[in-house]
């Protein structure tokens, strides 16, 4: 294809700058999905389940740890199903041992669990992640 002199380079440069600017906007988005928002070291807590959400985009347990509420994020629906976790599997009031990674932001009581143990049964959502 022939280029029309003078026209296209200007347009390309402007488009490039626009694209570069747009991509900067998405840079702060680096948590929550996946594991980047959580610490590398293993973390565990034990508490009483207060609220249960099993569904998309990922499950959540609100857990009472000696009077302090913690938010335990579970895997996406496919991971929960694979581990045997479905709606009705867990009940509020049950004791849970959650194992996974704590949020890097220490001001929030939040962790992402790889596996949880309730009533002697371990539900392992990430069998390939050792811990």
């Amino acid at each position: 294809m022939k280029h029309i002199k003078g026209e296209f380079p200007t347009v390309d440069r402007r488009m490039f700058l626009l694209g570069a600017g747009a991509s900067f906007l998405t840079l702060p988005a680096l948590a929550h999905h996946g594991w980047r928002w959580a610490e590398d070291g293993q973390f565990e807590l034990t508490g009483l389940i207060r609220e249960i959400y099993i569904g998309p985009p990922h499950g959540i347990l609100e857990v009472d740890v000696d009077g302090v509420m913690w938010r335990v994020e579970l895997g996406p629906p496919s991971r929960m199903r694979g581990a045997g976790l479905e709606e009705g599997t867990l009940n509020a009031g049950q004791e849970v041992l959650a194992s996974g990674h704590r949020s890097k932001d220490r001001s929030e009581n939040r962790m992402k669990a790889e596996r949880i143990t309730v009533a002697g049964i371990t539900y392992d959502m990430y069998p390939n992640r050792s811990g």
Binding site: V11, L18, A22, L25, A29, I54, G55, P57
Partner: protein
């Protein structure tokens, strides 16, 4: 949404597709309004790009409502979600405001090459608002 395992991912997919349609159609129109490709009659671009972006917008809104509905109170309490909804509202207002400008309404009846300063502003605001709205939308899953 919770009973069918494929439903949420499908709605999520449709939402992305809708945003691609909206932004993919609105950006060329915005750039044209700002003064690029002046030799191309605006009336013809408008005829193609406005319906596509409007369709994308409606699909994005309906799929977005479905996804918010799984945990509505939690999502609506997020500042980044509130910012996104405000930006979407601004984007819609900006587009609707252009519709009442006589020069825009009468495009098909004139030689619509070139641009005017009212169009430049509309195009610039539109591009900035939608880019920011998409940025906020992406951040929702990460905050």
């Amino acid at each position: 949404m919770k009973s069918e395992p494929w439903l949420y991912p499908f709605v999520n997919f449709a939402h992305i597709l809708a945003i691609a349609l909206l932004f993919g159609a609105i950006l060329p129109l915005d750039l044209r309004l700002m003064g690029l490709w002046r030799s191309i009659p605006l009336a013809e671009l408008k005829r193609i790009l406005v319906p596509i972006s409007a369709f994308g917008l409606l699909l994005a809104i309906s799929t977005g409502i479905l996804m918010i509905s799984v945990k509505a109170s939690e999502y609506l309490a997020m500042p980044v979600m509130q910012a996104k909804l405000a930006l979407v509202g601004l984007g819609i207002l900006n587009a609707l405001a252009l519709r009442i400008v006589p020069a825009w309404r009468l495009l098909a009846q004139v030689d619509s090459r070139g641009t005017i300063s009212r169009f430049r502003w509309a195009g610039f605001l539109s591009a900035a608002i939608w880019v920011a709205a998409i940025g906020c939308g992406r951040a929702i899953g990460y905050l």
